[in-house]
């Protein structure tokens, strides 16, 4: 593996080829906030809270550090007005779903995010996909998945699989950044309620 010299927040570091900015920053002890990242899982790039400024050949753009691979002469700024603005807004958007999440509240303090900026729609789920991806990639069971798309997207346990696999596992519960009870709730719902009927979409 060849080494690549990158600059993160003014500090030079030799990173290995194939590393992401997030990994390189972590090796320096620089903290970049994440919500959908997990070291056992493939990088996902969904929550975008790990957005940083990346400068290559004089051009600066915002990138998701968890998926952006290091490259020669890369200059990274993990905090800037723009980065903070993006993180603050994303937190405000997510807090409308999960206002009581401790992880979100801690970040909100750091970035000055107002948890009441948007109307509350407490679905609790912020669609980080940790439970879904952990079940698929680590446990290889696919007992929980996403259904629907866009604003209507939800996580759902598949009763046929969940009733067999989940009782002795439940490893996805503590992964949830909003509250472990979220996955537990959806899980229970899948097992006790009638099969879901497809209702016309009503709520945006």
């Amino acid at each position: 593996m060849s080494k690549i010299l990158v600059n993160i927040d003014g500090r030079e570091i030799e990173a290995s080829e194939g590393m992401t900015i997030l990994e390189a920053a972590q090796s320096l002890g620089v903290v970049i906030p994440t919500l959908c990242h997990h070291e056992k899982l493939e990088p996902y790039g969904g929550c975008r809270i790990c957005t940083v400024e990346a400068e290559v050949k004089g051009r600066t753009k915002l990138v998701a550090s968890c998926v952006y691979p290091v490259e020669p002469k890369l200059i990274v700024r993990t905090r800037s007005d723009k980065v903070d603005r993006v993180r603050k807004m994303i937190l405000q958007l997510l807090l409308s779903h999960a206002p009581d999440s401790e992880q979100l509240q801690d970040l909100a303090k750091e970035y000055g995010a107002d948890k009441d900026r948007f109307e509350k729609e407490s679905s609790f789920c912020i669609h980080c996909g940790l439970c879904v991806r952990y079940c698929a990639e680590v446990k290889e069971k696919n007992a929980v998945g996403f259904i629907n798309r866009g604003a209507r997207r939800e996580i759902a346990f598949i009763p046929e699989i969940a009733s067999k696999e989940c009782w002795d596992c439940k490893e996805c519960f503590p992964l949830c950044p909003t509250s472990a009870l979220q996955a537990a709730y959806v899980f229970t719902e899948a097992l006790v309620s009638d099969p879901p009927s497809f209702k016309p979409d009503s709520n945006y």
Partner: protein, 642 residues
């Protein structure tokens, strides 16, 4: 079926086909694209066949069902060759007259011709109709000459000669140089130079590489890729094969929407025919080059037009975009170098190879070469598909080709680039249409949607409409798009409903910045464009909605009221009878009054009030005048004015 094994056999086949064809034979071509199917071209085709047979003309007359002619406003269209007599809006009952008068009697039927609204003159030849005359139909021109289900029709017009040329007379490097020199840019939206994209894949070290046709056209109102694939599928296949040869790929995919049944059918037939003749498959024409093409039908998600989502879907997973920090021409489908271009881009390739890059670059502007097909729709006289050289002004497209705005209405804006494009106002009508020009003006080329809007269109509602579409089509993977664009839609919906408040515009701008900067894919990054461009050019409309609760275009229902002007009402009873909610009070010779509590603002009274009275009006931003006292409603005194 002849399997062609060498360039010499190809030339023989072509000569054979041409020999069998008499250029002077009467040919009735009938537009049979999807738009004309909708207006009844199948029935017209059946009656042509029946009539020709009945009169025993089968040997003298050829009938050819072609792809889209483009002038969809006036379809179904018949063109009788070789005289190029063009008849519009043909119904099955017109057919016997056409056959007896024009085919047998050599007489032109005037009532079926196009009448130029400007000069009142009747025009016989299709190419002289202003709609066609002002176009440059390099790609689309053959649509009217080809039965898309017949490979011989394509071969007769020189089809597959570009493939033969590259396989036997050009190295892949030479093809690449020619494409780069032509500066062909991607017609799917981004305008990325095709040659550079191809070069990246060609230079990648992998053994397996792929080429893909993106036919997942999903913009509301757009159907140019559909019509090209339906009408001339071999031109797309030929371009794709040339691209595959250039980058060293042996496998291609056509990702086409399942909602395009005729395109799926025709491209499937074309692939089978090309395989039978040896233009696809193993050892193509004896050159040693292998290339197969498979069709994949998309399941109806707009986001799958985005290249990484398309490839994810092609791999059999949910169509969600993935990060593209390594370009897909290096690491694309199944992590292999993949060149994905749109239908129109591929269709340009054989033209460039046959005629040379210098020929191609004579059309267009400095940075946007060639032609572009636009789907010209909305408030426009000549709805249809138009192909014009890059650099034509919006004004020429809308007025010269499109014939202007119907009903004497005023032009307000033209929306280009699909849902993520922008709306350009009348002071930009002289803008030359090109990739960079449109982007600089706050819109984009996109894949070529062009929606014309007149003075009755509310620009805040237009932004709301497109954000509604995009919220619905967002895959939901990343937060700035799933959450941010949804919040933008909520705010815009509130504004159009009279619930806008101070600070809304600023919050919209903040959300727009976050989506543009931080969303995962192009859908999210460009989703704020409908808001940003309408805000840039029509800010006063936003302010009227928010501050005065007034819709200047008198469109937003929650912000308007219907009112009958007592000075103009002639008590004709029409609106009263038509009102579906019994909201109009009155009787004969008694001025009508709208009961505002019952009115559902369905617009019926406004539409049915005779134009000579124009008594029903819409008002916005001000209170409805109180109804006149009942004793003053009697119309006796004014009845003689009538």
């Amino acid at each position: 079926m002849p399997l062609i094994k060498s360039p010499a056999e190809f030339e023989e086949l072509k000569a054979d086909i041409l020999l069998k064809r008499d250029p002077n034979k009467r040919t009735i071509t009938l537009c049979s694209g999807s738009a004309c199917h909708a207006t009844g071209s199948k029935l017209v085709a059946a009656s042509i066949e029946e009539e020709v047979q009945k009169l025993g003309l089968s040997d003298e007359v050829e009938i050819r069902k072609t792809g889209c002619h483009g002038f969809c406003e006036r379809g179904p269209i018949i063109v009788i060759q070789p005289d190029e007599i063009c008849y519009l809006q043909i119904k099955p009952e017109d057919v016997p007259e056409i056959i007896s008068e024009t085919i047998k009697g050599n007489k032109v039927i005037e009532r079926l011709l196009y009448t130029d609204p400007a000069t009142d003159e009747e025009i016989i030849h299709e190419s002289e109709i202003p709609f066609y005359k002002n176009q440059q139909r390099l790609l689309f021109g053959n649509n009217i000459k080809i039965d898309p289900k017949s490979i011989e029709d394509y071969l007769a017009l020189g089809g597959y000669s570009a493939l033969v040329k590259v396989l036997f007379k050009m190295t892949p490097e030479q093809v690449l140089e020619e494409i780069k020199k032509s500066n062909l840019r991607g017609r799917g939206g981004g305008g990325f130079p095709a040659g550079i994209k191809w070069e990246g894949s060609r230079n990648a070290p992998d053994d397996i590489k792929y080429v893909i046709v993106n036919a997942d056209e999903g913009d509301p109102g757009a159907y140019m890729d559909r019509s090209l694939l339906e009408g001339n599928p071999h031109s797309v296949l030929e371009g794709l094969a040339i691209g595959a040869y250039t980058i060293g790929s042996n496998e291609g995919y056509i990702y086409v929407r399942q909602e395009y049944p005729l395109a799926v059918e025709n491209v499937g037939i074309a692939i089978r025919q090309a395989e039978e003749y040896g233009f696809l498959g193993k050892n193509i024409l004896g050159s040693g080059f292998d290339f197969i093409v498979k069709v994949h039908q998309g399941a109806g998600a707009f986001v799958c037009g985005e290249s990484s989502a398309l490839m994810t879907a092609l791999e059999g997973r949910a169509g969600e975009p993935r990060p593209k920090y390594i370009r897909s021409n290096i690491k694309g489908l199944w992590e292999k170098p993949t060149v994905l271009n749109n239908v129109e881009t591929w269709a340009n390739v054989p033209l460039i190879i046959n005629n040379g890059a210098d020929w191609f670059t004579q059309y267009g502007t400095e940075k946007s070469k060639g032609t572009k097909i636009f789907s010209l729709v909305g408030k426009i006289n000549n709805t249809g598909l138009v192909e014009v050289p890059m650099g034509m002004t919006l004004r020429d497209i809308i007025y010269k080709v499109g014939g202007g705005i119907p009903g004497g209405k005023k032009f307000k804006a033209v929306q280009t680039g699909g849902p993520s494009g922008g709306c350009l106002p009348d002071n930009l009508l002289d803008l030359e249409v090109g990739f960079d020009e449109l982007t600089q003006a706050g819109s984009m080329m996109g894949s070529g949607g062009m929606i014309v809007m007149d003075e009755d269109t509310c620009m805040v509602d237009v932004a709301r409409y497109f954000l509604d579409f995009l919220t619905d089509e967002s895959c939901g993977k990343c937060a700035p798009c799933r959450e941010g664009v949804r919040q933008m839609l909520k705010i815009l919906t509130n504004i159009t409903r009279g619930k806008g408040k101070e600070g809304d515009i600023e919050l919209l701008a903040e959300l727009a910045e976050v989506a543009q900067e931080a969303a995962l894919c192009a859908l999210g990054q460009t989703a704020p464009n409908p808001f940003l461009s309408t805000m840039q050019y029509f800010k006063d409309e936003y302010e009227a909605h928010i501050k005065e609760k007034r819709c200047p275009s008198l469109y937003c229902k929650e912000l308007i009221n219907y009112y009958i002007d007592p000075q103009k009402c002639q008590a004709c009873m029409i609106c009263l009878k038509k009102c579906p909610s019994d909201a109009i009070i009155g009787e004969k010779k008694t001025i009508h009054v709208i009961d505002q509590d019952k009115c559902t603002k369905c617009d019926t009274c406004f539409e049915v009030c005779p134009p000579r009275f124009r008594a029903v009006t819409k008002i916005s931003g001000q209170p409805v005048p109180p109804p006149i006292p009942e004793e003053e409603r009697i119309l006796a005194g004014r009845s003689k004015d009538k």
